[in-house]
Amino acid sequence: MKNNNLDYTQEYKYGFTTDIENVKAPKGLSEKTIRFISQIKKEPKWMLDWRLKAFNRLKVSKEPNWQKPKYPKIDYQDLYYYSAPKSMSEKPKSLDEVDPKLIETYNKLGIPLNEQKKLSGVAVDAVFDSVSVATTYKEELTKKGIIFCPISEAIQNHPDLVKKYLGSVIPISDHYFATLNSAVFTDGSFVYIPPNTRCPMELSTYFRINASETGQFERTLIIADKGSYVSYLEGCTAPMRDENQLHAANVELIALDDAEIKYSTVQNWYPGDKNGVGGIYNFVTKRGACRGKNSKISWTQVETGSAITWKYPSCILQGDNSVGEFYSIAITNNLQKADTGTKMIHLGKNTKSKIISKGISAGKADNTYRGLVDIGRKALNSRNYTQCDSLLMGNECGAHTVPYIKNKNSSSIIEHEATTSKINDDQLFYCNQRGLNQEEAVSLIVNGFCKEVLQQLPMEFAVEAQKLVGISLEGSVG
């Protein structure tokens, strides 16, 4: 394979910014900033106290440094922790009142925020920087008793639920970035599914990072009450930027008895240019707790963007017979780096978990799978199956697998397998022979390699994700 003269022509498709005046919090991380955020969100006192508690914890905690991708030191005093489109200070009552520039941005991104969205059956909670612009389909969901709203609204309207569950999966003292998020989170989604309710549509949020130098601190809380089901989609694109932008979101899922949560992510943030300049730091904490019996949490992720992706969507399997699943595709090209995987912590009896991870590394990228399977002493008859496959394209990239496997009782079974290889020359030759060019062939083979994960995505995402897989690797095979 001719790897020496790679053609990195693929420009980031969504690289544009919109000029909107921003209301910004005072620069830097301080109690003042936190009070400012809390005030502008009109938060009750308990919420402010909670944030300050996290901030105090942050002062004594240290940034972790065990990860594979290293990054330049982040100056937390040089960031803005809150910025909102100005036209949002008076909340729009309908779409017509929304800043047309915003609407334009969404249209470029192809977010169905207008009439098409009703047809496509997607309720969109679009987060532009930090404030939710419009939440659609609210009424239809309200009829079923489903709460789907920005978390800032939930803090005001459903304080009992928020108080009970916020921080119950990711405690404020968890680790540096989670604590940071707890102190300064600006907005995000809140979902509550009442008992024995099946959410009639896929809930979806598009995040979009805009204003320069603004760290994004989303907070998502999803609660599936007894016997309920919800599928949640998260997709991301971001404009072209030269400065590294930090994104430290927290996502907490709680599944009670017999409930099921399916959480899917397609992440396509700005990865930086081919020289590794710019790009998003995606340091996200995602964790789900299967609290109830027979509950299930399933994570699916397609990670193609960001300069550095560093996340481990995890499941804590507390309830007996609960199930955790993790399906992941991580594609890194050029100088991108990914250190991702999952943690499956088995505490209840008869708990099951399954991990399928596909890492693809091209250009000069580094891709690491890091995962933990921990079967506790009391988690009798538990089962885990892990498969992580890596595909390398070219000899300048790296693929790493770092699984931690702990088995503490004899009735449980853990199986783990991992392989690393390159695209088979015979397969490429076969495709070429049938008239596909090199890039089409690679895209086809890689899509086949990822099929097990892509299948898990909801229809709306599957098509987009398949295209994304192809696009992300364009120019990587010469």
Binding site: S390, M393, H400, V402, S410, S411, E415, T419
Partner: protein, 420 residues
Amino acid sequence: MLNFKINSDEIDKIGSFSKEEKNFRLKNLDYFNDIGFPNKKNEDWKFSDLKAIVSENFSKLDIQFSKSKKQKVDFIKDFEHNYIVIVNGELTISDFKYEEKSNIILKSFSNDNYSNKKESNPLINLNHALSNKGFFLEVKENYKFKKILVIYYLFTEDLDENILNSKNKIKIGKNSELHLLDYLVNDSKKNFFNNVHEDIILENSAVLKNIYLQNNKSSGYFHKYSRNKLFTGSNYSYFIFPAGLKFNKLDLEFDLEGERSECNLQSASFLDNNEHQEIKTRVNHFVPNCKSHQKVKNVLNAESKGVYQGKIFVKDVAQKTDAYQLSKAILLSERSEFDSKPELEIYADDVRCSHGSTSGNLDKDSIYYLMTRGLSQKESTKLLVNGFLNEIADSIKSNSIRNFIKNKLETQLLNEYKKH
């Protein structure tokens, strides 16, 4: 004994050294004293918190140890062999009666390399600082050993809360071949710590077959760091049969430095009581066309804990690498634990690297099948466990040695089953 610090005076007590060597030892002692025994905050010791283990089980660790009395050796009678006898780490007698002695160099170990490096494993620094025993063995070019060489490592009865530091080096010259049996016999009933540093060099096309066998269980706490360098076309196979110790960590590093070199590591252990064993490997593929193969099997009973940490590193130029890692564990008791971390770090694309790791109980169907044939549950378990572990010993080619090893393992297992 939470803080185990060593006074620099101790170095003078070991012996008199050149200025250079003394500085080297002092420097390494400083490195060790900075950290002390590693705890689980150290990534490589995540599953084996040595600091806690040492402070729980030792009230002191004596560095000085009076010269051991003459030790009676129970020589193996099952097959003809050359031998070296090491008592408490110290080279005593040897006999190469089947070989041409001009092709063999054997002497007590002396330092020749004073590199001052802070090791990530503080026990290596400790060894550099304090080691005063050990041997150096060289097989010259183009010489193939006619009979196997057995190295008897004897640990005497009078060891009590001592720490032994020894350093061994084995060099196999070009086109030479050596078959080795490391045979560990432990007579001490008391706790002691044994810290070994081993260097093995295989020159071009050299072959080394090494079998590590512990004769009996003991209350020894063992740590061995072994660095193995393989040059072009060399071949190293390493079989490990530990008997189960209070603590046993083998930290093995293989550097494949020459093309077409091959290393093969296999291990079978049966752990019982509160035994703790860790096998940590790191295989570095630095050049193209090399092979590495690892197979680690553990059976865990009672409250024992087994750990396997394996890492395969493939450098960007090391194309056509074939690396494989397999860890299988059977947990027989609710209180046993098995942790593994099979790691791959790969920078070359045209490679075949894979690993697998499984842990679980014996297959219920197999037990049921055997019981329908009239065996008791205990017998069925025993049969299946034997079958599971014997696979490793079965791949030893020499008949007499294989049978010897299998007998040893059989007796060890029998003792286990008698107890339960």
